[in-house]
């Protein structure tokens, strides 16, 4: 058993255990911190697969951005020390059952399926290759989706400002 194997199992265990704790703990701030560890584990899996750029993006956007946003919104909307209300046991059981059945179905399909691997020459997922293809307009270019995502981000920016804007009191 090589070091790479051990690292994979550790990262997978970190991701899954902290993901599970993030959806089950009753303290909302702890849930956010467990989510943070789960996202770090996923970034580690990307590093393990040697996709450095996407791992860096994962850390910058999720760990540095979205988690901080979630923690801010927790501070703005929750009283400190409050526990989340206990859920009905029936709902918990049925949710767990539904999730487990879906998981078993996908796993059964997965292990009966054999994937065909390719024999072509692999492309190095380096930043230079990614940049060239991302802004390319040729055969495999992603310039159009890039522009569409830019417009979407602009729309989200304006939408956030409009939604979160404090409206004037109606009786002023």
């Amino acid at each position: 058993m090589s070091g790479s194997t051990i690292i994979f199992y550790m990262l997978a265990a970190l991701t899954l255990v902290s993901g599970l704790l993030a959806v089950t703990t009753r303290q909302i701030f702890r849930a956010a911190i467990f989510l943070l560890f789960s996202l770090i584990g996923i970034a580690g899996l990307f590093f393990w697969m040697q996709y450095d750029f996407i791992a860096a993006v994962q850390i910058v956007v999720y760990v540095g951005g979205i988690t901080v946003l979630i923690i801010f919104s927790i501070f703005l909307t929750q009283q400190a020390g409050d526990l989340l209300p206990k859920q009905k046991i029936g709902r918990q059981v049925f949710s767990a059952l539904a999730a487990f059945c879906g998981f078993a179905l996908i796993m059964l399909q997965l292990y009966q399926h054999t994937f065909n691997t390719t024999t072509e020459q692999p492309v190095e997922p380096s930043v230079a290759n990614i940049g060239n293809q991302m802004l390319g307009v040729g055969e495999n270019g992603f310039a159009l989706p890039f522009e569409v995502v830019s417009i979407l981000l602009l729309a989200a920016l304006i939408g956030c400002i409009v939604i979160a804007l404090r409206s004037k009191p109606a009786t002023a």
Binding site: Q58, Y62, L69, I106, F142
Partner: protein, 104 residues
């Protein structure tokens, strides 16, 4: 304990997806529901990268898909948190059971 490969990564991503689904079903607080959605989107990213690495290493389409998923997830989280804060202002609660009417 075998050498990890595509099936191991798909196992991790499927498990994470259904952990997110479980959280989405059981949680009744909007912020924690948003966290479950983030877990689901991240499991999809693992899938894209794993397929790209093990089945189509001569292309980078999976990598671009996950970059776009990350960008859209960031936009979605920002808009969701704006909506949550607005809902908290009008209802003093972000529990979905207490936000039943559509108009505030």
């Amino acid at each position: 304990m075998m050498e990890p490969g595509l099936y191991h990564l798909l196992f991790v991503s499927t498990a994470l997806f259904f952990i997110g689904v479980y959280g989405f079903f059981t949680r009744r607080n909007l912020v924690t529901m948003l966290m479950s959605i983030e877990l689901i989107l991240n499991s999809v990213n693992i899938n894209f990268i794993a397929f790209n690495k093990y089945l189509w290493p001569h292309k980078m389409d999976g990598l671009f898909f996950s970059i776009f998923v990350i960008a859209i997830a960031a936009a979605e989280a920002a808009v969701a948190i704006a909506i949550i804060i607005n809902l908290y202002r009008s209802h003093q609660s972000i529990d979905v059971e207490r936000a039943e009417e559509m108009k505030f």
